[in-house]
């Protein structure tokens, strides 16, 4: 399936490029199940959108029937890989020259016959209408361009974290991604196509074109072509990036001479664009003319955008349109202009998927009956090309890329994702602790680290499907794909927004899923859970024998020691692999002695002497020893204190993290042995919820809506986050509006070094929000 297919179009009489090779399993994917097409045809690029369903394997766990399964010596639960159908949106961008080839290809692979209509937008939709109708046999249904644009914009802002960015040409990282705002409205969209439209967007359905300008991309292109005899837009930009505008423009210092400084004037300001070219006897270089023109147009648009932003009192201004579309040169000049005119009050924002807005919007118009806005969607890193463009000088890949296909794939998430209601300031919350886009040293380390770990992951993936002979082949494809992603990220760290350890982990999960390895750790998790369960009662008994104060410490050490068992961490998986007997007690011995690297245990203990918390939300980490011998005893103690507990675990698998499905079975089993847990479940004081995530890390701004509801209903006043992925790579600096406890063992020596500790250093971070003093309790001892 991997070989490229040469498309044949003998029957066509068009003069378009028909000799391109499309690797079908990489570009127009899942066409067999495709339905609901939309197309956006611009001046030079076509964007095609379709909805399809993807069938892929998911790992399910199912409890054995206790009544029939008497010999409980074996496995705890049954693992099966089932086929599941999920919805996916595909967006493909290609040059107009390939339209015909692509339409032929789609026609040949389109099995679904339900689809009758294709939604179309963009200036070229009219021109290609007949071709589309003939080739696809679908009726072209035209949608308003601006409406599509806005719909698309709302969709990406809402569903893609790190969609918007600020561009800074000379900064360490060119792109500064913005955190997703809880409320995306109101905003101003400045669309720079041939002309400029300025649209004020107040809500999903309420928007207004408040103004515009005829001086836009068409002016740059048309006037530029006249002035420089250069035909192509890209070439004009290239020229501009090499030119000097000062030979063409009249600057303030040209009028004022050298004394502008003493008058408080900036000499380099342009007083009159093209002011020096008002002469018949001087030649100007193409580069200089193009540069001057670019400045003139960018400044003019920037100025108008600022005037409109001011008039409508809006501070969020997004720029799009073909003039902007990933061109560093225009993003830079527009940013410069906005900064100049607003003195920093308004930031020029750009969008990673700007080129897709029209197609997304047209698609959404056609899919209204499916209510796509009811769901949350997530960018699939495995199937999306990511942001490619940087200055051509910096990245030679850029030029080679024209003529290729750019893709975006979005998965429909099972659940709607919302903010954790306990975030202190949702608008400033950043999940990730380290931005690898900005930190070159860290980036190098982690990219290396993930590359190193790849062999192990491939091995484990193959081992997880012993009955499938082609698993090795698929695993190899996975290896290639993920390695390619890592290479891409090495050159373009900003491809999917800010590069973080979380995004590297998530990309790996997406790639594994892509090649049908839904849960490579399922067997290991099962085995670990099995073993740990056997020790559960013994562990609980020994804890109960301790004094109250000793027990509190032992419980914390238990969680930490349990957290050492982590197949996801290289240092640990090496140990576990070589020494299967590595036990819980051994893990405790490995732990750092107090004082820990971050140590607020004393404050925590003091707090425990006070009144119980109303409800604790516990984000759990690994399966096996971690959850069973570490977390559950800790939870048990909370329950005994009278605190309700909500256990939040992953909806889908990620590494050896315990999933909600697994945890259901585990707690049932434990409840059968432990009356405290049993009572907790029965009385609904112990609740299991899904986080909505399938990541080893945790984004508190994208959590299952049900979780948020439970948290609110139960008046949660304590949030516990466990593990390196959730409490260190992410959320280390997260500020909550209630008490929080972050517990983790650092199982990576580089990271330990960064944080000033060493391997197996402990982070125990208990925080009380400012203004909420720890309760003034009496010194009365708490009964043990």
């Amino acid at each position: 399936m991997a070989e490229c297919v040469r498309l044949d179009s003998r029957t066509s009489s068009h003069t378009m490029d028909k000799s391109i090779t499309l690797p079908p399993d990489e570009i127009f994917r899942n066409l067999e199940n495709a339905k609901r097409f939309a197309i956006d045809i611009g001046e030079s690029l076509t964007k095609l959108a379709y909805y399809s369903t993807v069938q892929h394997k998911v790992a399910k766990v199912r409890s054995f029937d206790h009544a029939t399964k008497e010999d409980a010596s074996d496995e705890l639960y049954e693992i099966s890989e089932q086929e599941e159908v999920t919805a996916r949106l595909h967006f493909i961008k290609f040059e107009n020259a390939y339209i015909e080839t692509c339409l032929d290809f789609i026609k040949d692979h389109l099995v679904n016959t339900e689809t009758k209509v294709i939604k179309a937008t963009g200036g070229g939709a009219h021109k290609f209408r007949e071709l589309i109708e003939r080739k696809l046999g679908l009726k072209v249904d035209k949608e308003d361009e601006m409406t599509c644009l806005i719909k698309g914009c709302n969709f990406v802002l809402r569903n893609i974290p790190h969609e918007a960015f600020v561009y800074a040409k000379h900064a360490d990282s060119e792109f500064r991604f913005q955190t997703t705002q809880p409320d995306i409205f109101p905003y101003l969209l400045v669309n720079i196509g041939s002309g400029v439209s300025i649209i004020k967007v107040e809500s999903e359905d309420k928007f207004e074109r408040v103004g515009g300008s005829s001086i836009g991309g068409g002016t740059f292109w048309g006037l530029g072509a006249l002035l420089t005899k250069t035909k192509r837009f890209d070439e004009l930009l290239q020229l501009a990036s090499k030119g000097q505008h000062t030979s063409v423009d009249m600057l303030v210092k040209d009028i004022y001479g050298g004394s502008h400084g003493s008058l408080g004037l900036t000499g380099d300001l342009i007083a009159s664009s093209f002011g020096k070219s008002a002469t018949a006897d001087q030649e100007f270089s193409k580069e200089d003319l193009a540069k001057s023109l670019l400045h003139m147009i960018s400044n003019d648009i920037g100025q108008l955008a600022c005037l409109y932003a001011k008039l409508h009192k809006l501070s969020r201004v997004y720029f799009g349109g073909f003039f902007i579309r990933g061109h560093p040169v225009t993003m830079h000049t527009i940013t410069y202009s906005i900064n100049f005119f607003t003195k920093g009050e308004v930031q020029a924002l750009f969008l990673r998927h700007e080129g897709y807005l029209g197609a997304i919007g047209a698609f959404l118009k056609g899919a209204e009956e499916d209510n796509p806005n009811q769901y949350s969607w997530g960018e699939n890193y495995a199937g999306s090309s990511g942001l490619m463009s940087v200055s051509p000088d910096m990245n030679p890949m850029q030029r080679a890329r024209s003529g290729t296909f750019d893709m975006l794939e979005m998965d429909r998430l099972e659940r709607q994702l919302v903010n954790l209601p306990l975030l202190r300031d949702p608008s400033s919350y950043i999940p990730d602790t380290m931005d690898l886009t900005e930190d070159a040293l860290a980036r190098e380390y982690w990219l290396y680290c993930f590359e190193e770990a790849l062999d192990g992951v491939v091995k484990r993936a193959v081992a997880s499907q012993p009955d499938m002979p082609e698993a090795a082949e698929r695993a190899e494809k996975f290896r290639q794909k993920y390695r390619h992603k890592l290479q891409t990220l090495r050159h373009q760290p900003f491809a999917y927004g800010s590069l973080t350890v979380r995004s590297l982990l998530d990309t790996r999960e997406h790639c594994l899923n892509e090649f049908n390895f839904p849960d490579p750790y399922s067997k290991i998790k099962q085995k670990e859970n099995d073993i740990a369960l056997k020790y559960y009662q013994k562990a609980v008994k020994s804890l109960e024998e301790l004094s109250w104060e000793e027990r509190q410490f032992a419980l914390v050490r238990g969680v930490l020691a349990g957290n050492v068992f982590d197949w996801g961490a290289k240092a640990v998986s090496d140990v576990l692999e070589s020494d299967p007997e590595f036990g819980f007690e051994e893990a405790k011995r490995q732990l750092e002695e107090r004082p820990w690297l971050i140590d607020s245990y004393d404050q925590w203990l003091e707090r425990l002497k006070g009144p119980p918390h109303k409800c604790a939300l516990f984000f759990v980490d690994n399966s096996g020893v971690d959850i069973i011998l570490g977390v559950i005893p800790f939870v048990r103690e909370l329950l005994s204190r009278g605190t309700e507990v909500v256990l939040a675990s992953n909806s889908g698998p990620a590494l050896n993290d315990v999933t909600n499905g697994e945890l259901q079975i585990l707690t049932e089993r434990i409840a059968a042995m432990d009356p405290v847990i049993q009572a907790g479940l029965r009385e609904d004081r112990l609740t299991l919820v899904q986080s909505g995530s399938s990541s080893p890390c945790l984004d508190l701004s994208r959590l299952d809506k049900v979780l948020a509801m439970v948290v609110r209903e139960r008046q949660t006043d304590l949030v516990i986050i466990e593990g390196m992925g959730r409490a260190i790579h992410t959320n280390y600096y997260a500020m909550l509006s209630c008490e929080s406890l972050k517990m983790a063992v650092i199982k990576n020596s580089w990271l330990a070094d960064r944080l000033g500790g060493k391997l197996f250093s402990v982070v125990f971070k208990y925080e009380v929000p400012a203004g909420k003093p720890t309760s003034q309790h009496s010194a009365a001892p708490t009964p043990s």
């Binding site: 300008s213 006249l226 008002a278």
Partner: protein
Amino acid sequence: MDIGGTLVKLVYFEPKDITAEEEQEEVENLKSIRRYLTSNTAYGKTGIRDVHLELQDLTLCGRTGNLHFIRFPTHDLPAFLQMGRNKHFSSLHTTLCATGGGAYKFESDFRTMADLQLHKLDELDCLIKGVLYIDSVVSSGPSECYYFENPTDPDRCIQRPYTLENPYPLLLVNIGSGVSILAVYSESNYKRVTGTSLGGGTFLGLCCLLTGCSTFEEALEMASQGESTRVDKLVRDIYGGDYERFGLPGWAVASSFGNMMSKEKRESVSKEDLARATLVTITNNIGSITRMCALNENIERVVFVGNFLRVNTLSMKLLAYAMDYWSKGQLKALFLQHEGYFGAVGALLELLHPS
């Protein structure tokens, strides 16, 4: 004097009430300068006296006389200084009040080449003083301030006098090489709201590049014969008619020079068309920025001045139209006869009434 990026504007007050006694005392140099300025309407190759703007029987500082308006290109300033040297300007012991960027740039040239001391003045102060003064002294002849009646109907669009009583607040848009926009609340209370580099210099600069012309007059002449709709892409070129969803009329320009993206159309346009499109583009852009400023500053009256408007009825009518149409009649565009000379007049007043 007002020494701008492109033009030097000079105003000269010629006293007419000179007594015989004075006449005798007057040095020969002064007589010769006066004779030179008042007996010619053109100086050298490029200097011009705008005779139609001359204000006669004006009383300034207790003297009655005529105010003359003279202009020449800034790049000919060296020739002017040479003349000043030849005619011994410096022997007159008077200060030369000057404004505009050139007052700073060429200060040392004035000193070294013509032995003249400049009294430098802020250009925006001068501009406002000049506007208010001229408007107050013009009583006979055509009204200083005027507007266009029925700006949206080309057949009925006519110039009408306007009385600039209670002028405040007003937006003053000075279109020289570049553009400055001022909000004026009183003679001494004003602020520069913004400006744009797309001004008269841009029009001329682009026209020179696109058509090979070399003077403003030439460029305007070509523009008057061209058709911008061959160059610009209109709303109807894209949507076939009005874009009703957003209330955009089909005749509105969607993309200035937008048709020039196509090779065939580039080959079919004339120089005149290009000049016209350049004029329309620059003018409409100034109109649109002005309109936004008026909205942001909550001002309904706009006075356009500056030499870009000289003999440029096309642009004035376009501005009048744009203000009226896009504001649905809320904004009024006003123009002044002495378009580009207000800075120089303001500087002259400073000489007579030093503040």
